[in-house]
Amino acid sequence: MVKTRLIALIVLVAVYAVIPLLFLNTPYVVFILAQMAFFTIFAYGFNFLFGFSRQLFLCIGAFTGIGAYITGISLRDGLMGPVEAVLLSTAAVAAVGWVVSFLSVRRKLVVIFTGIFTLAITLVFNNLVIGLANVTGGETGFRIRGISLGPLDALPYNLRYYYVAIATVLAITVISYYLLFHTRTGYAYRCIMDDEISSELVGINVARVKTLTALLSSAVLGFSGAQYALFSQLIAPSYFAFASVDLPVQIIVILGGRASLLGPYIGSAIIAVVNEALKFLGPLTQVLYGLTLMLLLAFFRNGIVDFVRRKLFPWFF
């Protein structure tokens, strides 16, 4: 079992390392790939919050945005170096996520409350960013200068960040695989996924596991948001709006499969291709996203991974 998964991981790494090399002459494709890699990380954060621990956080855009703005502002004003800025973003977003989760878990609030609460956070984040225009640049945002990534500087610009993002998401996958299948917390997780009340009864501290998940996932979101800011070099509210982050992320997670480690990879790859193919629709993409999400929820709720596992290759799993 472990061996098959190790082979799968090596294949994954190889595929993701080689794919952009085929498109070296077209920077645009590499740019799309880099964006796809970042959305895979975002989807991982959401997947852990929603898929694994059933906390509906509808503020992925706000969380990544907080990370991006902290990094962006401290780099623009020369408050600290890039490494410290990224670390600060990670810590800050982790703290916010922990507080939100703590409030909703400790008060025993149902899943919808968390949903409403985090949706309100999204709204607050947007208003705050636009309202504090003298710090954040308001609607138009601000630019930061690119930073050096050490040995990766030899590569073309988009490729650098592609590798950074892919390395991050692969590392997260490996770590979460280890956590899920080889530690006590992992067992607790899988119990909570099946039935929360029973797991409470057998002595699992559900509240602790949930808040811990929120802490780690938010840290991932803050880190990747900061990286995303460095990558795009332009930090504007529209980049982190509900429609441009949360929506694709939710489609990725539901399409790929909730609570699966491979789901976000598949989902984000499909979304990247579909998004490019439908670029000519312009603002109508949002209508299409809404429609897709509705149809997916109605007829394909368990995602591709589950479909493959149940219908196509039951012998493999």
Binding site: L56, K108, I112, L119, M294, L297
Partner: protein
Amino acid sequence: MDASFVLFLLDGIVFGLILSLIAAGLTLIYGLAGVLNLAHGELLVICTVTAAVLLQSINVPLPLALVAGVLVTVASSVFLEKVVLRPVYRLEGEERILLGLYITLAFSIFLHGALITSFPLAFLTINLPVPSLDFMGLTVRTAQVITGVASAAVLVAVYVFLKNSWGGMAIRSLTQNEVGALIVGVSVKRYRLIVFMLGAFLVSLAGIIRSVVATVAPESGIEFTILGLLVCVVGGIRSVYGTIVAGLVIGVVYTFLVVFIGTYLAYVALLIFIMALLLVRPYGIVGERW
């Protein structure tokens, strides 16, 4: 304590009543169908956009345009209930709540995209031809008083309907105990549809009333949804009486925050206020568990 204070208070009360109208529909739908309708604010916008488009393009008289708006809104909510939410009712318990939340979110995204791309300029403002009044040295806009009285009247009517009519009692019994209500012969399907239509009717009235005191833009649906949800949460999500009180509280607090610290930061302060309120009274100000 000067003249403008009273005017802001009046503003806040009118806004609060509008929020109560939105939240009352949300509460009824959640209580009966177990679906937290995240597309509720978009329904409000459907009404105002329909009316505005009819007014702007083919010069329909105002009352007719408003009636058309209400009808289109009710029709969309019937579509939502009968077609979009069909898979939701096959599930039970937490799964149903979650899928309902998600599917209505998707529906609202769909509507939002469709509305702002097709009718980006369909702003609705209604200017009532009524004069301003001088009352104890204050200039009170009569239109505002009328809207306040109108929304209060609608809310009272809803309350009386729920309290006294047979249909209202059926709705309340279904909210309290679905199985029990089924045993004594109340049809869930029928009342679910009625509640969705009632919710859409209330929210479209809220849209019309809002457009008398301010302009309703086609992209403001999500904002109304979130404000309505916050009112629901503060009021205790199963109690219509609680939502009316909470709507007034939030409306007044929000208006004063806007006046003193500006529109954008008012949301931040409002959310902090609500968080504090929920930490003290986690099941809403009326205090019913949900």
